[in-house]
């Protein structure tokens, strides 16, 4: 009995949870990061890794005969040394070298001067535009929606799904 009450209370508090602005920003950032992803799924050959038959990355496969012994040695040297750097490291290196001069950071355009436009997060139609006057905001997560129907879909599917 006590257990049951407990679980109801948890459920209730979850359903009424309101995301603060930091959580909303975090959620937005995650969504943007997802747009940069090369793949959504996992490597379909991941389970082959263990097997000897599996093609390894470092090897060239089906590229025809080439690459003398000398090259092969060089190549592994190169990879080990200076040129294996991730994006963040390269960016830091550039900043140290260029300072305030034009570079990767300064080339990025600033935010737009035009007002942001709003769309229903479910159906994608504009909100708060003269022929699309509806404009509601989800109390819990801040998403926009255009109608009761879209709000229902939103609550059933996405509303707090992505919050961690």
């Amino acid at each position: 009995m006590a257990e049951k009450r407990e679980s109801i209370r948890i459920k209730d508090s979850q359903s009424r949870r309101v995301l603060d602005s930091a959580a909303r920003r975090r959620r937005q950032r995650k969504a943007l990061e997802a747009l940069e992803a090369d793949n959504f799924q996992d490597d379909p050959h991941a389970d082959l890794r263990m097997s000897k038959k599996a093609p390894k990355f470092e090897e060239t496969i089906d590229t025809g005969p080439q690459v003398g012994r000398k090259k092969k040695k060089r190549r592994s040297d190169i990879f080990k040394e200076r040129f294996r750097k991730n994006f963040a490291a390269l960016l830091e290196e550039e900043q140290m070298m260029t300072g305030d001069l034009p570079g990767y950071q300064t080339a990025c355009v600033p935010p737009s001067h035009f007002p942001e436009r709003h769309f229903c997060s479910v159906c994608g139609y504009p909100c708060k535009f003269h022929t699309f006057p509806s404009n509601y905001t989800c109390v819990q997560c801040g998403s926009r929606y255009c109608s009761v129907r879209c709000l229902g879909t939103h609550q059933d599917t996405r509303c707090l799904k992505w919050t961690a």
């Binding site: 799924q41 060239t60 025809g64 190549r75 390269l90 034009p102 355009v109 035009f114 769309f119």
Partner: protein, 421 residues
Amino acid sequence: MQKHKVKLAHSLKRKALLQEINGLEKKAKVTNKASSSLEDDANGRKKKSVPNCVIKAKTVRNRIFIGDQIEDCKDLSGLYYLLAFQKGYLINWEIERQVWDYIFGKSYLDVDFDDTSIIITEPYFNFPSIQEAVSEILFEDYQFHSVFRCNSGFLTQSKYYNECKNSSELCCLVIDSGYSFTHVTPYYLDKKIKQGIKRINVGGKILTNHLKEIVSYRQLMVMDETYVMNQVKEDVCFVSLDFFKDMEIAKKHSTANTIVRDYVLPDYTHIKRGHIRDPEDAGTKPTGSEQIIRLNNERFSVPEVLFHPSDIGIQEMGLAETVVHSISCTPEEMHPHLYNNIVVTGGNGLLPGFKERLYNDVRAMAPCELDVRVTCSDNPVNYPWQGGVLMSEHSDFNKQLVTKAEYEEYGYNLCMERFDV
């Protein structure tokens, strides 16, 4: 005198579209490598782009596919991509080397390195250590006879000025809207004006991923189908010339909605390639096991992100605003020339309506006394490559290169001096 064959490499990113280039009659053998690779030999035999990636297929477990080898794969669903580029910069050399080995190798171009010059393009503000790595690998590893490195905009401006020979233009504004990002770069003659180079972090990849995302949410789970959805994008998306009007049309029902399209997804058994369903069949039920998605406001709200990144929460200027911003960072006497010589390159230029919308938006924001002109060739992807072909034929070409002998004598410093990347 030695006659060098020329390789032209282009380090855009993966481009899932393979294109046949016709009508090039060059003696030089040219490759537009990284994202897209074009080849042309004396007989005009093989000329095409090669995707710059390594692909794993769900159904084929005993091999991987490098570049255009994916053409051998019968089932293109759920492809898994390995890309050497991250945010548009070459980060993973293991992958890139596999692609280069394949393209330069026996089964493809069969390059005679001792007798071949390569032109390779790199993104603006390419990181110093990547630039060094490119030089070192081309000279020391592949042992090319000579190398020329530049931004693709450099090749674009030379092609562009060549086309408007008669008017003797002094400036142009190069827009390169590719897979990873979009750059706007002002050129005075062949020199880029660094403080005017502007980047929007929106490219074809984000558009395809956004399309995947909204279709998956609204209709059918297609998050794993990057290859298929990229084709959907290329087949149905367009840049709206009147966004809110098109939204109104898309909201209408039956025949009043002239925007909605049904798209038949490939199943790789009966349907080898996805396609728009014949509008005649619109009212009828799909036959058999056809899987159909309906594209409506998605058709133009996806490319709209290029013009309004903030629509999806990317707090950056849109393309037209960026054009105005970029030009405002150049000396004032250049402004009339730049507004009048806007040239579009990159795969997103293939979206129907791109050029017209860009013109409309820039026209609306530019000072009214200045003329605005936007050009975009039928093949904006290969436009820089064509500039590379022109360059390789020019009598000055040998002076712009760094040869292997020079590299060995003077080292990488000479590359830094001679190349403006």
